[in-house]
Symmetry: C2
């Protein structure tokens, strides 16, 4: 009943890797994400914020002066979805908007001091978790992790993601 076209007496292989190994990594990706997000989630509860607020704070923190349209493209959500969380972050003094200098239609996003502080607090446990995960490995392993994750991103997004990630 659980058999499928994927199975053979031995094991199907994609790109020389057994299904079994691939499944393990797939599942670990789920568990890693589940726990990776749990620390910031707890902090966010104190502010009645959620993950959506975290994402906005993070990307504005890393890219001061980010435009709304860029943020939408990073998050892959609609303007209306972003609108709500952004309004809250602005109303509660974590983010400010400035008119674009060359294009006055733009509303460039910046963190306030308390926004910066919250972004830092949210990042800290995640940075620690990543550092701990790489601690046992030799040099070059950070590079491997980076390349591995990068390869999971859509091909057509590579250039954009690289531009955002690399500083």
């Amino acid at each position: 009943m659980t058999d499928s076209k994927l199975k053979t007496p031995e094991q199907t292989k994609i790109a020389g890797l057994s299904d079994e190994k691939l499944f393990e990594i797939m599942e670990l990706f789920f568990f890693a994400y589940r726990d990776f997000t749990s620390d910031p989630d707890e902090i966010l509860m104190n502010y009645s914020f959620g993950r959506a607020h975290h994402r906005v704070l993070h990307f504005v923190s890393r890219n001061p002066g980010l435009r709304i349209s860029q943020l939408l493209d990073i998050l892959k959500i609609t303007k209306q979805s972003l609108g709500r969380v952004l309004r809250q972050l602005i109303e509660e003094g974590f983010i400010v908007q400035k008119e674009g200098e060359t294009d006055r239609r733009q509303r460039l996003l910046f963190l306030t001091d308390s926004g910066s502080e919250l972004a830092r607090r949210l990042a800290e446990p995640q940075l620690r978790r990543i550092a701990a995960a790489l601690k046992y490995k030799g040099t070059g392993d950070a590079a491997f992790a980076r390349e591995f994750l990068y390869s999971l991103v859509d091909q057509q997004e590579h250039a954009k993601v690289k531009a955002i990630v690399r500083k």
Copy 2:
């Protein structure tokens, strides 16, 4: 304004890794998850299912005879949240429940044929993506990816996760 206690003229390091490298990996984790989930999401739309249904299908597929309580512990959601999606999956013929043989209070979960087929279809693009991400690397890199992701999981969950992931 964007300065914080984390910064020094050079760069703060956690466990010998620069903040910058850690930030990159943190962000890539977000982008990887964003795109990793996008392929199954499209398939699920045809069934009016969401990610919650996918998770249930996946873990039942990998663990036939899974108990409700185990699934709740894997997903870290409430009984009520699971209840809704599980009911739909049962009503629409993707999952069946069988009474536990040793403990008749238990409702063991199994996939039907169409459940198996859907689970396979959902897994396929993700397996391919993982395989492609590891294709360029030498032997042992699958092991590295596995250890890296595993290290991101909560310490106290390690034993349980290992039991679920390793077959």
